[in-house]
Amino acid sequence: MTTAKTINLELKVWRQKGPKDRGKLEIYDAKEISTDMSFLEMLDVVNEQLTLEGKDPIAFDHDCREGICGMCGTVVNGRAHGPEKGTTLCQLHMRHFSDGDTIVIEPWRARAFKVIKDLAVDRSAFDTLIQAGGYVSVNAGGAQDANCIPIPQEVAEKAMDAAACIGCGACVAACPNASAMLFVSAKVSQLALLPQGKPEAAQRALSMVRTMDELGFGNCTNETECEAECPKEISITNIARLNREFFKAGFFSSVE
């Protein structure tokens, strides 16, 4: 971590005009970057400069900028969301870089995530996965009293940890196989652990796993890079749970 107030950086940024363009890395100077800035604010500064020069600013995704929405994310020097543990790109501060550093910035790379432009990728494959089973069907009616379904604290905690997933796609980006297992396992776990999700657990596990394969995500080989890179530090114990849920559904339930 640097204690300097400002730093100068060389950026190598993936520029790609559109999904069909081949794209390449381009070099930019980021000068007098305050170390209190976030990574996205640093990109804002560079974009302002590019705009003044009449050039096309770098496209990148972002929304909340407080680490909760899951919109931001690029691969920074080979690391999804950059080098800090449990941090989204918007929460990564420039004090973690040093004066004179070269930073290579690339989009998430996966067959299932097509580049829209520059660093912005199409993650609608995750929406398709959620539509395949990442929900509970609730019949409308009066809401029941919260306390009438007892849930052990330990179970509630596990479900809550899984529910911390913000769907940013870093797990896919970091996985050497571009597998979406951590994402799917977080969604399946969150719902399978709770009574409200249990009735549809078998259907959900089968449907989400089949959809995951159809979308072109890779196969998990337990490399555990996803867990190490997840900004919400979702555990791979969820992947083991997904496997159990899937085998239960595939071999022992009557769901087709």
């Binding site: 890779g218 867990e227 496997n243 085998f247």
Partner: protein
């Protein structure tokens, strides 16, 4: 039977095949190693073990057939998974950096696996398909390991097996869903210990034979 192919055919189903066949191989390695260790008992002791083993006759043929089937499943499924995974990321990163999750074992599974396949074929031609009429099994082994080249190949192969299994054992448990905060660290430890024991246990036999 659609339910079966639909379940086995998915990515998790294929992983299950890898895990079950892989664990069976780990079991085979244990039995094979225990058998091979009889070589430290000398020529007669070893040949007696071999004769005893062959006295099971048809049972041995069945075991060989089972192993061959498991191998075919493990290798074919592994190959399908490997190419599927390459295909899942058509555009590679310019900079690749691990976040600390991968190990030597995990990042080389398909390569160590393929090298093992070559080794297993080599190994079978060395010993299994060798002339068993005019020489004892001990003689076959002793003749092979009198040559530096064979000793070297076998030691390298055992290091490769150890690397494959160092990830494989733990990974198979995770794949079948056996993950628990109380036991997973133990399984990981046992996996490493197992691979060291397998590597050293098999790897020292060629050295021992070479030096006698």
């Amino acid at each position: 039977m659609d339910w079966l192919t639909n379940t086995i055919g998915t990515s998790i189903g294929k992983k299950l095949l890898m895990a079950i066949t892989g664990l069976c191989f780990c079991g085979f390695l244990v039995v094979h190693l225990i058998g091979n260790l009889t070589i430290y008992g000398g020529k007669d002791f070893f040949n007696a073990y071999v004769d005893h083993l062959h006295s099971y006759g048809p049972l041995i043929n069945v075991a060989e057939l089972v192993l061959l089937t498991l191998a075919a499943i493990h290798v074919l499924t592994g190959t399908i998974l490997f190419f599927g995974n390459l295909n899942a990321r058509p555009e590679r990163y310019v900079v690749n950096k691990s976040a600390g999750g991968r190990t030597i074992g995990s990042s080389t599974m398909p390569y160590t696996g393929f090298l093992m396949l070559l080794f297993i074929i080599f190994h079978l031609f060395n010993f299994h398909f060798a002339d068993h009429e005019n020489q004892t099994v001990f003689e076959i082994v002793a003749n092979a390991f009198a040559q530096r080249g064979y000793v070297f190949i076998y030691i390298v192969a055992m290091i490769i097996v150890a690397i494959h299994v160092s990830h494989g054992l733990w990974s198979a448990f995770q794949t079948i869903g056996a993950s628990h905060p109380k036991y997973t660290p133990l399984i990981e430890g046992v996996g490493i210990a197992f691979s060291v024991i397998i590597g050293i246990g098999f790897g020292f036999i060629p050295i021992f034979i070479f030096t006698i």
